[in-house]
Symmetry: C2
Subunit: 197 residues, 2 copies
């Protein structure tokens, strides 16, 4: 099934770095990769509850409407954010949650990985967003890990580069245990028109 | 003249922190302030030249189209970015440029301030974006400096908080020498419907 665009939403609490993760993902695909990308965050009364949300729309063509219409991938870093931002999720979408803070998922086909626990083991809980990036980058299709790595390193202060690189690859490793067979019917970045056509 | 929305664009080179500045401005208005805000960045072939651009749309009402249509405020951190992203500028808009890297402006009513020079004096060129934020926040209307300060401090690592606070207020100080009389006819955040009505 070929698609015109691949639509992602990252959500979590204010301190979990989902906006930074979305900016980095967008730069990996749009600056270091060959896609057109729109990255947005919207604020309103809902954003004053401490929940944070960011969107990334990726296409091989110019993007007309920059926000998510039919969500192909949702990354949720905690339960409240998942409950708030699950609407617009495509029935066949890819749902990835941080098992550290998400107990219940609204669909049985979600992928639960301990991003924050892994980040704690690396010594800094705040790199949980980068661990998640590594995992989502692998799960959502052919976004080269080298492009994600360049985008991460360009966005973090020099003295934290090694930690963030470690976090990214820890996220990649997490996915090795995931049964990707079950994801076969899920739309992915590989399914959008243009680049490989 | 009352407006429905206030539309801003920040541009510069990849390393000048315009996306971070836009995220911080958006959070000051949308998380710490009472506005609806959409913040976007778009990437495509043009973004691979090393130029960076981010947009902020602010309204007291829900925002339908999240990108800039009629630009009320343009912050340009270097000449190439200014030349690339000046289109859509409103004839009465507020143009603020970093005089360190912008020699020529396309309109005589621009405001030229040495953001990067001031940042160098503070010891770190990379806080030029925060100096610029302080200035733009003052020039574009009633965005309380306390809200901008909260948004800056929430986004920077703890050990750089003092430096960033200093940078923000250095930007506020820069504006004290600006002839704001000449800006009287410029649309500002104070001119959008709703909050004070």
């Amino acid at each position: 099934m070929k698609k015109e665009r691949y639509e992602m939403r990252f959500c979590g609490s204010g301190g979990q770095g989902v906006i930074t993760a979305a900016v980095i993902f967008a730069e990996a695909a749009g600056v270091y990769g060959d896609y057109y990308v729109c990255q947005t965050q919207s604020y309103g009364p809902q954003s004053r509850g401490g929940t944070s949300m960011a969107e990334v729309v990726i296409s091989p063509h110019e993007i007309d409407y920059p926000k998510v219409v039919n969500m192909d991938c949702l990354l949720a870093m905690n339960q409240t954010a998942l409950d708030s931002f699950f609407s617009d999720f495509s029935p066949k979408g890819l749902l990835v949650v941080d098992s550290t803070f998400v107990g219940q998922t609204p669909t049985s086909s979600s992928i639960s990985l301990p991003f924050t626990e892994v980040a704690r083991e690396l010594g800094k809980e705040i790199v949980a967003n980068i661990v998640a990036l590594g995992a989502v980058g692998q799960l959502c299709g052919k976004l080269p890990i080298a492009d994600l790595e360049k985008a991460v390193l360009a966005r973090v202060p020099e003295k934290f580069r090694d930690l963030n690189r470690e976090a990214l690859f820890a996220g990649v490793d997490l996915v090795k245990d995931v049964n990707v067979e079950g994801l076969n019917h899920t739309p992915s970045l590989d399914d959008i028109y243009g680049l490989s056509d």
